[in-house]
Amino acid sequence: MSNTAEMPVTDSAPVIRPKTSKDDRTMIGFMLVIGLYLIVALAFPLYAMLSKSFSTYSFDLNNFEFQVDKGAGWSDPVTAQALNEDLQVVKLEELATSSDGRLAATVFFPDFSFRSTTKYRLRQIRAESSFLVGSTRIADTEWHEFESNKFRRIVLRPSSATGLDNFRVYFSTPALFRSIENSLFIATLSTIITVCLAFGFAYALNRSKMRFKGLFRLIAMAPILVPSLLPGIALVYLFGNQGMIKGLLFGESIYGPIGIVIGSVFFTFPHALIIITTALAISDSRLYEAAVSLRASRWKTFWTVTIPGARYGLISAAFVVFNLVITDFGLPKVIGGQYNMLAVDIYKQVIGQQNFEMGAVVSVVLLIPALFAFSIDRYVQKRQVAQLSARSVPFEAKPHKRFDLICLSYCVVVGIFIVGLIAICQYAALIKFWPYQLSLSLVNYDFNVMDGGGWASYSHSIQLGIYTAIAGTIIVFAGAYVVEKTNGFFATRSAFQFLAMMPMAIPGLVLGLAYIFFFNDPANPLNGLYATMGILVVCTVTHFYTVSHLTAVTALKQMDREFEAVASSLKQPFYRLVSSVTVPVCLPAILDISIYLFVNAMTTVSAVIFLYSPDTTLAAIAVLNMDDAGDVAPAAAMGMMIFYTNVVARLIHLFLSRNLLLKTQAWRLR
């Protein structure tokens, strides 16, 4: 029964080791499974990437030994190093290479002819590198004998070491490290503009009695529904080389900082707006009443009450926007021109130059500002929550004709900016051949004749969206449940919480690259996942884990802490409680999580750009690839398909929330 029975009789009371219940064990099992998921999908890949950034590769000529038989028996063994000292065929700086480096063995034999009858022997002295015969890898330390015809196909492979060499190379290559400055500049500038614009918008929505608030809220959220590179395409149509209103730029080029900043403002605007609106909504009306009673002017009230009240929201919004911009890759790829940014560098290093180590180095460099912005944001958010609980009376605006009109005009201007860019894309998609044939047509929707995977990529994206929404919601909710509702296991739960917060700080591109290193390793038992839909789902769920997790945790925190205790006192297993109480009560949050995951799976480029395969091409990536190939109009058309799909998904979500919730949430109506 209990182990207290076997305790020797002593003066002190027996120490009790609690017996775990079946539920406890199930919960711990769950926690381990989901913890394991996060370790495999996050911690290990990141570790693989970090170690990659410190891996250096070089040809160790001392490690290869040759023997030659020109018909008179085998010569004495001689190292490649010794041969090279005589011949000087491989220069010292050529010895450093990447993990992909190959060096033909024949270079050490100037008189080599594949028709000769000369025979060669080759061995490694230590098993630290390898050589290839054709595509067969030989890594042992035996002597291997080759006819000359075979010998010409032998290449030496580098041996690896750990060190800071990659970083040294990075910081001594101006073309590379200048991107740091560029990225910081663009991110800072975009942040300032977005936060100011969003603050004005939130202020108008919150503090005025202007009309059409609902409509403007909807419009402001639209950018979330499209890939971040879509505004880039719109800007090309407006201000590009053949742009409609190119003249407005007075000769400046849209390809570069200007385009990136405008596009960044567009796609980060809703994110900033949500945070700032929340901050304004919680500020206390009592302070305003006090200000009014002190006859403070509107202007003074604004600076002494509004701004300080919303400061945490503003700071938090700033860091979130900064993070989004500095880690975004699609937009600068489309409209950045020659202007290099960190995220694009990673892409170029990996896809363009196949230099994975350098890609890893840039990733590490990019992680630093991202982690920094993330930690500040977390810190600020905590403070805001404290502020939230202490405050109570919500602010109710009073009509004020002139002020309301100013607010409305402002929102109209911002609204035109947002709707305008999306409308331009739709227009571009429908024009036959800009700017020469302006008739409307659907030719641009014939994706199957273009690069990028055709309509199949669109259906893959929908699949990815649905799988991500389903799998992600289950994983996230189960994970949040076990951390919130298990007692004890403090260390395990803290570790889990930490892992759950991490993804927000990890740029999608970095995560994707980390996945290459981890899952594409032939030694990894999960290697089979590589290049499947599965890895796309895992990567997308992981990439968007944090926000979903926080949504679930917030919902679970609102549940009475004692439900589990009551259920166990009534001898009911926890899953009965979960299915008949927890899930129904949290249904609004669960629906929110799934729509969030779906929409993001539809629009994400950065997390999946390194991971899609010809069988799993995706719509958002098709936009990028078609744009890259010069098919800008079809790219716009595909972008709009994503937009409409997300609109429909949102409508379904709305419908479900209204109807399903009416049934399951009847108890909310008193």
């Binding site: 002190s12 609690p18 775990t20």
Partner: protein, 380 residues
């Protein structure tokens, strides 16, 4: 208090034995070797100030936060290490923890639903339970549609639905307003007595404990100060803490002068027997109702008449407050320093003795109610 039917130790069977329970949160000891025996059918109250460890104690008994050491046995079975699901109890929390999305019926039926009972039986039992707490037609409503008092009763019958051997209540009435609280106090006590279920209730409200409990466990800073019937706790507090926490108590600093007398200033009082060293500092404690107006040789309503002149002294009436059924009189005597003594006097006594503000009257400390404690820093 008249309806006390204390289940006495001799007549009843011991149901719950708690032996030297210790619970620590990190370095902080929330419960320090507490022991308690609860008899079958008994209503026990844990009483003490907020943070003294009452909830911790209750949760340890429930297995929700299992103790670090010490044992719990229920109905002859050692349950010390068992998880809550393997113990036999029903519980009501301060928040009630009613499932908001389930109707009251389904809340009550929650614990019955998978005990292989058929639907009709469950419905019958639920109806019976609703009837029992006087809410027969509220079953179809959601908890949010009920008043606080109704929610409390739903939570109570949910806990009782499976007929547990032990009922645990953690401040079940504290979220209610005073009137409902007084009413439910009575109802719950009747229900408990009718069902005969052994009950442990946590409260910080002394009135609640005094009116409802068969025995009260007074707790302070993780230890038990005293266990006893309400009368014992009130009349025979074993520590200054208990004396101070339960009911009002006048406290006067003095010095022990023999084993049944105390010197305060120039006055010497006869008290109960105590074994404190002569000349050691002590606290003299007396309840307001035990300070009675005194007039020699006369015997009439509410005025105490004793032959001797012990424990009688003069005091100035500083203030008088009429509290409906009695007067609360503030008295002052320069011997006692600045301390104001509170005396509760019957309306008759006040009229008879013409007690008035500004007047000096003669009062008596009843020697058998005068208690002496060593000075204690652990007072509330």
């Amino acid at each position: 208090m008249s309806e006390q039917q204390a289940v006495s130790a001799e007549s009843a069977k011991s149901y719950l034995q708690i032996d030297r329970l210790t619970k620590k949160f990190g370095d902080f000891t929330a419960l320090d070797e507490v022991s308690l025996e609860v008899y079958e059918g008994e209503f026990i109250c844990f009483l003490g100030p907020s943070g003294c460890g009452k909830t911790t104690f209750l949760r340890a008994i429930a297995g929700l936060d299992i103790q670090n050491s010490g044992t719990v046995s229920q109905a002859g079975k050692d349950i010390s290490a068992l998880p809550p699901s393997e113990r036999d109890f029903g519980i009501v929390f301060q928040s009630y923890a009613l499932f908001p999305n389930l109707t009251c019926e389904r809340n009550i039926g929650f614990g019955l639903e998978n005990q292989k009972a058929n639907k009709a039986d469950i419905a019958k039992r639920v109806a019976e339970l609703l009837e029992m707490v006087g809410l027969p037609d509220q079953g179809k409503k959601y908890p949010a549609q009920l008043s606080g008092g109704q929610q409390q009763r739903i939570a109570l019958v949910r806990a009782l639905a499976t007929s547990p051997g032990l009922l645990l209540l953690d401040e079940p009435l504290s979220a209610l307003d005073a009137k409902v609280r007084t009413y439910l106090r009575h109802e719950m006590k009747l229900l408990q007595r009718r069902l005969g279920v052994t009950t442990v209730m946590v409260t910080h409200d002394q009135e609640e404990a005094l009116t409802m409990a068969d025995r009260i466990v007074v707790m302070n800073q993780g230890v038990i100060e005293q266990i006893g019937t309400p009368i014992e706790i009130y009349r025979e507090p074993s520590t200054l803490f208990v004396a101070d926490f339960v009911g009002a108590m006048n406290q006067i600093e003095g010095k022990a002068s023999s084993n049944n007398s105390v010197k305060v200033g120039d006055t010497t009082f006869t008290s109960r027997e105590h074994n404190l060293q002569t000349d050691s500092p002590v606290i003299v404690a007396i309840r307001p109702e035990d300070i009675v107006p005194h007039r020699e040789g006369t015997s009439s309503q509410g005025v105490f008449e004793t032959g001797d002149t012990e424990n009688i002294f003069d005091a100035a009436v500083e203030d008088m407050e009429f509290l409906g059924s009695f007067w609360r009189v503030s008295l002052n005597n320069s011997d006692f320093g600045d301390a104001v003594l509170i005396a509760d006097m019957s309306i008759n006594a006040v009229r008879h003795m013409t007690v008035e503000i500004g007047k000096t009257i003669s009062v008596e400390f009843q020697s058998d109610q005068l208690r002496v404690f060593p000075p204690n820093t652990n007072t509330v």
